[in-house]
């Protein structure tokens, strides 16, 4: 019976570290866009007080 010397490489080894950091950065930008910039009424009303106090342009 043959024993495999190595198991499958962990996911982290397949995606380079700089790419993972860039991914985290982009996810942060997307979250900030949704919370601070999206002008849909419901999103605006929910985030209203945060936008005013964090200095995001509002209304």
């Amino acid at each position: 019976m043959q024993i495999h010397a190595s198991v499958a490489a962990p996911v982290s080894a397949t995606i380079s570290k700089p790419l993972q950091i860039a991914g985290a950065f982009l996810l942060g930008i997307v979250i900030l866009y949704a919370a601070g910039f999206v002008s849909t009424s419901a999103v605006h009303n929910a985030a209203h007080d945060m936008r005013h106090s964090q200095g995001f342009p509002c209304h």
């Binding site: 996810l27 942060g28 919370a35 009303n45 985030a47 007080d49 005013h52």
Partner: protein, 250 residues
């Protein structure tokens, strides 16, 4: 996996900083917003033969029938949620920048002084620079079109981030020249309405609102300084743990 660690730590750091921010806001920022909202519906009677005040620049395109959180616990809850989300978003950006800096740094020491510096930089980039051109507004204030202000806000943030990064991490002896970038959005100038901030309000309401607007500027400056202090220090703790787990190098 580094990505997963960054996201988990950003959520943790965002929860702490967002909670602290909500507490500070609840004490000194929210009361000003609520005082200003009392006047929001008030409109001055048209002056005979006077200018048409319909175009005060405040394009309120939001649907009056749209869902709005109930005042009280619900509204505070959504503000807390928005604060935590925003803090997590800023935390992801900050952690990504700090880990990138740690990867290219020759020293492995990261301590609270780094936290203070990163926090101060975040405050300068995401609050101070845009606020110098577009002071945080209280509800009811006239302002230029939303798109123009959002674009300038982005312009101010990107320029000050690039300027600070070039100065801090540049290798050339001319690296200080990148600080010029920080000034450019302010030379271009932020978009402002042609009318006074509260031109459409009765004079006594306008005077009261102008006082509130000044208080609001100061209150948000303090709230955001506390917020960035917490975000900078907790992010430093997170980056130390990520570096110690040896996850940042290939």
């Amino acid at each position: 996996m580094l990505f997963r660690r960054l996201v988990l730590y950003a959520l943790l750091v965002g929860a702490v900083a967002g909670l602290v921010l909500t507490a500070v806001q609840f004490w000194q920022v929210i009361p000003i917003i609520q005082s200003a909202e009392v006047y929001e519906g008030e409109v001055a009677p048209p002056i005979q033969g006077g200018a048409d005040h319909d175009h005060a620049g405040h394009d309120h395109e939001h649907d009056a029938n749209a869902w709005t959180p109930q005042d009280g616990l619900e509204r505070t809850g959504y503000t807390l949620l928005s604060n935590v989300l925003t803090a997590a978003g800023l935390g992801l950006v900050l952690l990504a920048a700090m880990v990138t800096a740690a990867r290219s740094s020759t020293t492995t020491r990261i301590d609270w002084r780094h936290g203070l510096l990163w926090g101060a930089s975040g405050y300068a980039v995401f609050w101070l620079s845009p606020a110098l051109g577009l002071p945080p507004e209280i509800p009811g204030a006239a302002a230029a079109s939303l798109e123009a202000r959002q674009l300038w806000w982005l312009f101010a943030v990107v320029c000050s981030a690039a300027g600070l990064a070039g100065f801090a991490f540049g290798k050339s002896p001319w690296r200080w020249a990148s600080l010029v970038l920080i000034v450019i959005p302010h030379l271009v100038g932020a978009p402002h309405p042609e009318v006074a901030m509260f031109a459409d309000k009765p004079p006594e309401a306008a005077a009261e609102l102008e006082k509130l607007a000044r208080q609001f500027y100061g209150a948000t400056a303090v709230a955001n300084a506390v917020f960035w202090l917490v975000l900078g220090l907790t992010s430093t703790w997170a980056v130390r743990r990520i570096v110690m787990s040896n996850a940042i190098h290939d």
